[in-house]
């Protein structure tokens, strides 16, 4: 290798570079340039600029791939690969970061923990997610995952005076570090099998082996433990309800979509390419995990009275549905997974946005009863929440229906009838617990007459997520096409 940093390398790296630079700039500027609390809105501007520059980088990559008619662009000797898949996920991450940034300003003021580090960590977490979607090298993937996870450990514990937040952060940190140990062990075995950290070399090495090779099984099982933890699949889900409940609600929203989407990007990369050769081994394994995840997620959600916990269990069950698409594994299945993640990002964010609005100085706003009679107080919020919940349950004409439709279609195409039936049955359970929220909002008498905590950013974010949740459901073609092009790998 004569040149260490070529123009191609730079072109591929630009979004991550922008996120990291602006993340560091926010950290610095908070101390040096804008020390006064009232100047924090300028930091917000920097975050938006950083996201815009990163988005421009992704946009240029997308155009370049389209104009040259090539499927992928590798950089750093195969360490990073920009393809449709990476671009698809990067857009999701940037959208999630943007929405979370918009809603955080007012929320952190209410919580009384408004520090500029929050925004820096959001950008740096997004930088880690970039490497999860784009990386094709075991070390890069691992460090990217740790970068993202470390940012989230801190963000989850951001309410330093709140014992629940402390507990959530510590629990998430300890369990997360433990699962990372498994993941890195699996990666090291994969490296031993291939003699190279590049995913392509690992794939070649595994293809020349028996699928039931015990060494491959060892690598597969440990890697799977690490990855399934990150997507909070059962039996590695124990951290999720506590972390989701204790974290600041804006962070919960970010954690439930950003971290989950990024971990799914990593899971898809690893399971489809290098471990694709061992498909007959992991397919029954993942099927069992998916069924367990849907069972625990849906049944445990039924008895929750805390909305954040309820949505945590619901997000666990959604991970089960997404896994079903990977188990089907045909083109429809993978497309279904991508569409599901896209749709899930917006509908789940939307549901958390309404919870964010409930928080006041004197009200935690996390209990089901705090929503009682919301329709009499703020009908707009109640109707938007209804749309998000219908979508989460998978009822047409919302986007959630399209997402579930493709997953079940793929399962039937590949003759996984039992899984399809189980998945459909659990939708009925899901409708029950989502409608507990709806009943509280629409049928219960108005309990709390105080105003909602709202802001321009929050209203904008609600409108965007609401329009997308309905829009993808009513007119899905452009989004399906987007997912289709990102499949061409």
């Amino acid at each position: 290798m004569s040149q260490y940093y070529t123009t191609t390398d730079h072109f591929v790296l630009v979004p991550a570079l922008m996120l990291a630079l602006f993340g560091c700039a926010v950290l610095l500027f908070e101390v040096l340039v804008f020390p006064h609390p009232r100047q924090r809105k300028w930091l917000l501007l920097f975050v938006l600029l950083g996201l815009a520059f990163a988005g421009a980088g992704v946009w240029r990559q997308q155009n370049f791939l389209a104009s040259q008619g090539i499927e992928e662009l590798t950089a750093f000797g195969g360490t990073l690969t920009v393809d449709g898949f990476a671009i698809f996920f990067n857009w999701i991450f940037l959208a999630a970061s943007l929405i979370v940034t918009l809603i955080s300003y007012r929320y952190l003021e209410v919580e009384g923990e408004h520090h500029g580090e929050y925004y820096g960590l959001i950008l740096l977490a997004n930088c880690g997610m970039f490497f999860l979607a784009t990386g094709t090298d075991l070390i890069t993937l691992f460090i990217g995952l740790e970068l993202m996870a470390l940012c989230f450990y801190i963000l989850v514990g951001f309410l330093r005076e709140d014992r629940r937040s402390n507990e959530a952060a510590l629990k998430y940190l300890l369990l997360g570090a433990f699962s990372s140990g498994f993941l890195v062990y699996g990666f090291s075995v994969l490296y031993g099998l291939a003699g190279s950290t590049k995913l392509r070399a690992v794939a070649d090495a595994l293809a020349s082996r028996e699928p039931w090779d015990p060494v491959v099984f060892l690598a597969l099982a440990t890697t799977a433990v690490g990855l399934l933890f990150k997507i909070s699949a059962v039996p590695f889900h124990m951290w999720a309800p506590d972390a989701y409940e204790g974290a600041p609600t804006t962070v919960t929203a970010y954690l439930s979509v950003g971290s989950k989407a990024a971990s799914f990007a990593l899971l898809l990369r690893v399971f489809l390419m290098p471990l694709g050769a061992a498909r007959e081994v992991w397919e029954p394994l993942l099927a069992a995990v998916a069924v367990a995840t849907m069972t625990v997620g849906n049944l445990a959600a039924v008895t929750q009275t805390n909305i954040k916990r309820l949505l945590a269990y619901s997000s666990i069950s959604h991970a089960g549905y997404i896994l079903l698409g990977l188990i089907a594994g045909n083109e429809t299945g993978i497309k279904g997974v991508l569409v599901y993640i896209l749709v899930y990002t917006f509908m789940n964010l939307g549901a958390f946005l309404v919870v964010v609005a409930l928080r006041r100085k004197d009200l935690l706003g996390e209990d089901l009863d705090d929503l009682a009679g919301l329709v009499y107080k703020s009908p707009g919020y109640a109707i938007l929440m209804l749309i998000f919940l219908l979508s989460l349950a998978g009822i047409p004409p919302t986007a959630g229906f399209i997402a579930k439709y493709y997953i079940f279609l793929a399962l039937i195409e590949t003759r996984h009838y039992v899984l399809a039936v189980i998945g459909t049955l659990y939708v009925a359970v899901a409708i029950y617990y989502y409608f507990r929220i709806v009943r509280s909002m629409f049928l219960a008498p108005l309990a709390d007459t105080g105003p909602l905590t709202t802001s321009f950013g929050l209203r904008l974010a609600l409108v965007v997520t609401g329009v997308l949740t309905l829009g993808i459901g009513i007119y899905p073609e452009p989004f399906l096409g987007f997912a289709q092009t990102s499949l061409a790998r």
Binding site: H115, T140, I154, A194
Partner: protein
């Protein structure tokens, strides 16, 4: 022959130290045994001809990080925790997992080295330069990017620990 002897000696240190680290009730003893375990791993690096890793392992882990560990343990009052019984009742899950892994390891032992068929190092001219130069070379060429991301990771860790530890930010 001598190599084999040293390998088993260092492996015993690593594994025995590891087991004692998690079974001792006194946190200071655990930390001491962790030092033994890390030193054993350093010996394994040396056997592999990785002098640089050996030195880093001793200086950083045994010398730096473990000393910090001991400081923290002595600052925090752990007498209460040492007396507490473990309260989770999931030993049977652990037993199932351990016996699964044990079965896999037993299989490997029965099959011998043939079961692994690990990748061979690339054939060609024997490597003449030392391990340190090789690490420097790949660190700044092939693994340049992960190396740089790791620096961002460390920055986040520093910012996070300051944020968590300071009373008033």
């Amino acid at each position: 022959m001598l190599d084999t002897f040293f390998f088993y000696a260092f492996a015993l240190l690593t594994l025995g130290g590891g087991i004692l680290t998690v079974t001792r009730r006194n946190a200071v003893h655990s930390a001491m045994w962790l030092i033994v375990s890390l030193a054993g791993a350093a010996g394994l690096y040396l056997l592999q001809g990785a002098e640089f890793l050996f030195a880093v392992q001793i200086v950083l882990y045994v010398g730096g990080i473990m000393v910090l560990f001991l400081f923290v343990i002595m600052l925090v009052n752990l007498d209460e925790a040492a007396k507490m019984r473990q309260f989770n009742k999931q030993w049977w899950v652990a037993l199932a997992c351990v016996s699964g892994v044990g079965a896999l390891v037993a299989y490997f032992l029965r099959q011998g080295a043939g079961a692994f068929r690990l990748a061979r190092p690339p054939q060609g001219a024997p490597i003449l330069e030392g391990n340190t130069e090789r690490i420097a070379d790949v660190l700044f060429s092939e693994y340049l990017l992960p190396f740089e991301i790791a620096s961002v990771l460390l920055l986040v860790a520093i910012v996070g620990s300051v944020l968590m530890a300071k009373r008033k930010v």
